[in-house]
């Protein structure tokens, strides 16, 4: 009532400020609430299944047979871990080494050329990555890599998904790492040169150590992205909820499994809840990794760098 009286007494300029400030406040609250809203709604949608089966049964049972009421997430979670681990194994060394090269060895001009390339790599839609994986990596794995290790594979397997995923997280890790290496002050390097260290020794012992928190948070962010990547993985991983016995076998990941099975869930009881629970598990794991990365950055670089 009081605000209303105040509002009526305002002139048009003040009224504009009043209305737009309230609207902007509402938009900000909406964004802050969105995350909680998503988690709460996913949780309440998966509640029917959680009432039926205890959470430990769901997470650690390897039986996936919705028609018979068996919802074991274990093979899907393990598949996600496999695919992500392969992606990180390929991606982290290559991305970190190339960002050291970009930050320490290239001159300004070359850097100006390379940076837009990395940005473009980050902007390519994931479905295009998936298509390229089908065209290039699937035949490569099927005809060359798998026979080389004495295995047979259709090409739609955990390894292919991990490989394309590793390319997709290059730009995330590289763009953060380059910035972190650049942020190491030159005095630190000069001190190291002054006591007779070579350039590489300086990088190894001084620059890398100083930048380590930043590098590890870049890796965690890359992990979060890889864990939640959907479409590209869904196209090449094979989408079979089984514990893959080798990297040449098909598997599935949480996100890819949701994408490929969403349509058929209406016919089976609890299938809907199971999908929602899967999305909930996915979002919680990704959240944990992203928050960890944020905390590491906050701790080591103070509040200035967010």
């Amino acid at each position: 009532m009081k605000t209303l009286k105040r509002f009526i007494r305002m002139d048009s300029r003040k009224r504009k400020v009043f209305i737009s400030t309230k609207l902007m406040f509402a938009a900000s609250v909406l964004v802050c609430a969105l995350l909680f809203l998503i988690v709460i709604i996913l949780f309440s949608s998966s509640a029917p299944l959680l009432k039926q089966h205890p959470i430990t049964d769901l997470l650690f049972s390897s039986l996936w047979n919705p028609e018979r009421g068996d919802f074991g997430f274990y093979p899907i979670i393990i598949g996600t871990v496999y695919v992500t681990a392969i992606a990180m194994l390929f991606s982290v060394p290559v991305a970190v080494l190339s960002s050291i090269y970009i930050a320490e060895y290239t001159k300004g001009r070359v850097m100006q050329i390379i940076k837009p390339f990395i940005d473009i790599l980050a902007g390519i839609p994931s479905v295009v990555y998936g298509m390229c994986a089908i065209i290039v990596l699937v035949p490569l794995v099927r005809d060359h890599i798998a026979p080389f290790f004495g295995a047979s594979s259709t090409g739609f397997c955990v390894l292919t998904a991990g490989m394309i995923l590793s390319v997709m997280i290059f730009p995330i890790i590289i763009s953060i790492c380059v910035e972190v290496f650049r942020a190491v002050p030159d005095e630190v390097r000069e001190v190291s040169y002054a006591i007779g260290a070579t350039k590489w020794e300086t990088i190894k012992h001084v620059v890398f150590r100083a930048a380590f928190p930043g590098v590890s948070s870049a890796v965690l962010l890359g992990f979060g992205r890889a864990f939640g990547e959907t479409i590209a993985v869904c196209m090449v991983v094979g989408n079979i909820p089984q514990v893959a016995s080798s990297v040449f076998e098909p598997g599935t990941t949480l996100a890819a499994f949701i994408a490929s099975n969403f349509g058929e869930m209406m016919s089976v009881p609890f299938y809907y809840s199971a999908m929602m629970l899967m999305a909930l598990v996915l979002i919680l794991i990704v959240l944990i990794f992203n928050i960890l990365a944020k905390i590491i950055i906050r701790r080591s670089y103070g509040g200035g760098k967010t």
Partner: protein, 282 residues
Amino acid sequence: MNFRKIEEYIFKILMLTSLIIVLGSLIGIIAVVLIKGGAAINWEMLTTTPKGGFYMGGGGGILNAIVGSIYLASGATVLAFFISIGIAIYLQREFTSDGAAGIIRASLDILWGIPSIVYGVFCFIIMMYLGVGTCLLAGIVALTMLEIPIMTRGMDEAIKMVPSELKESTYVLGSNRIETAVKVVLRQGLPGITSGILLAFGRGIGDAASILFTAGFSDHIATSLFDSAAALPTMIFFLSTSPIPEVRDRAYAAAFVLLSIVLLISIISRLLTNKFSKYIIK
């Protein structure tokens, strides 16, 4: 050469190899799309909607997906713009405390990291609750949620760079918070704001996971917000695993169009940033 030099030499080679792998994979991806898509693309493909037997190798083109993608991404970008610009202005010190701004920025960062499929699932639950089927509007809402954090962080960075002396001199002249924000801050931050908008548009047009169950798929061009709509990413997703080569060609053509749009936007963004920079006073 002593051991230290050899070690440096080996690692230099390793680093160069890694850089070549990274740049090579980028060039490889673009080359694959250009070669495969370039061979498959023709005028009829771009200007017709699918005809009967499209998914078995029959006639028709991908116009429905091109138009659908543009509808979805532009709708989402417009919606996200109005929300993001409000939040970005609100994050300034004149409107909110540093603590509150920190919380808002942290939630935006977290929202940025959420996999896009979660937004799709979230929208799908709301659609089930409201009793609507797959439609253009639902796809737009899902993409809007995806675009807001990207756009807002871009705008926020641009607005943060506006010097406070400039703002203070407008306050001295008797302007109020909103007038300063709209007439001075937004104009000063224009290069960063446009590049934020275009970045979000590029991300939105390429995302498939969030529109997979919200926008649906249809063979004709949507005529209202409550029609299902096809989009380039979903079309690539559905068609590129097809066993029929003619159908796969359509996926390649769609990827060609999609990648051209994304690259074009990134080039436009760079050009506009340079062009708008001349309005910056300081």
